[in-house]
Subunit: 255 residues, 2 copies
């Protein structure tokens, strides 16, 4: 907790919620999903109740990076977002880890007062009453290739918490046929939600490898496969999108 | 006009509007702009009141291809769209050439009756009363690098015709600083409209060259430049998107 925020919390007479933050960076564009191409600042929280086999953000998940996660008040996070954006409101993307395990209601309320908007990305394993205050909720249930098992009731609770508030969408990473079948099934359970599919981007083992260049041509062949799959099934409501940031910057962090 | 449609037109006691069609293909994904990633069937009309220096659809613009443009009734176009989509409704993208110089109101009405949705892309030089019946109107004024000059009153007329109906957005191709300045100016004239920017994709001279492979890395460097430009200006409402179909398939037609 930095000094000015601690003081402001005391002045207000209540302890502000403290969020574990892995990184705050931007503005850059949102590289995937419903807001693809839109300038955003990312707030990545530390800690996750999942451990996906192909996680591309282990530095925000694995407890061996815990010392890098900074406890910050909502005020301190918003100060940093405002600094990065030159105090000009934009859409803040909150991701993780699983940001739904953090106390983020204060940040959203304080940001709204200054005109900022908030999109949150989570696997949908934990719901919070402050989901209703978001501008966008991206629910990204993890397919079989992740090694995780979806709790459908927990996911339904997330949809329900958000029902009166944000635009809620589903996003699926698809590595193979089993993942695709999972996405079809999950989407059919929530027919009112828009669907975004993205081909999986295999990360080589080890943190160092996160920085390695990717093969854009291989990624485009995976796009082609997924487009063929979706159009053959006449699944005309599903968007198929790559991870633009991976195409532009590889697996580099902070862009 | 094919025979069954001619008969149906006579039965209905009125001559159906005839549209000059360059090609109908899909389903594939929309590769750019507000509907990026969404499966769609493209109806590309023949003929254009513009002649952009970097036109990527000369086969639908240049009069030397006129013999390839097939006169089709709305019913015949819809029959082909239904055949391609397996009679399952989807979003039809109407582009050109400039589709706004064609009589498309009948097609939109007949398609709506069967659950199809319609997005139309035009430079905004010609407005039509049937714009109000579209689901999405993409206005793509051409920047200085095109060699064309925008008629701002004509563009405003397009926005006005569509005001009660479709979601209307602005899309700009940006090759250089002058194009970027044009986009900034045009967007400021219509602050209520969402903005989509895409880096220009230079097409080598000659129709044969349309099929040549593109350099994805060079396209990504242009994306990076445009993202830097937008974030440096804190133009946080503008989306920056590539042409996905070019990344996936190069400049090949019919995909």
């Amino acid at each position: 907790m930095n000094a000015p925020s601690a003081i402001s919390a005391r002045i207000r007479g209540a302890a502000e919620a403290v969020v574990r933050v892995s990184e705050i960076f931007g503005p850059t564009i949102q590289g995937e999903g419903a807001l693809i191409g839109l300038p955003t600042v990312f707030v990545r929280t530390g800690g996750c109740d999942y451990r996906c086999s192909w996680c591309d953000s282990l530095h925000a998940v694995d407890s061996r990076y815990r010392a890098d996660w900074k406890p910050m008040t909502s005020g301190a996070i918003l100060d940093e977002v405002r600094r990065l954006s030159g105090d000009r409101p934009l859409t803040v993307t909150i991701s993780g880890g699983n940001p739904a395990i953090q106390p983020l209601g204060d940040l959203i309320r304080q940001g709204h007062e200054r005109g900022y908007r908030f999109a949150l990305e989570t696997q949908g394993s934990v719901s919070q009453d402050w989901f209703a205050e978001l501008d966008m909720l991206v629910l990204s249930p993890k397919p079989p290739s992740s090694g995780m098992v979806t709790d459908w009731q927990a996911l339904a609770n997330c949809v329900a918490e958000a029902s009166a508030g944000p635009r809620t969408v589903l996003k699926f990473v698809v590595f193979d046929e089993a993942d695709y079948a999972f996405a079809r099934d999950a989407a059919s359970r929530f027919p009112a939600l828009a669907v975004y599919l993205q081909p999986g981007n295999p990360i080589p083992e080890g943190a160092e490898a996160e920085h390695e260049a990717v093969d854009p041509d291989a990624l485009m062949r995976r796009m082609e496969w997924l487009i063929d799959r979706v159009t053959a099934d006449r699944w005309f409501e599903a968007h198929v999108l790559p991870q633009l940031h991976v195409l532009i910057w590889g697996n580099r962090r902070g862009v």
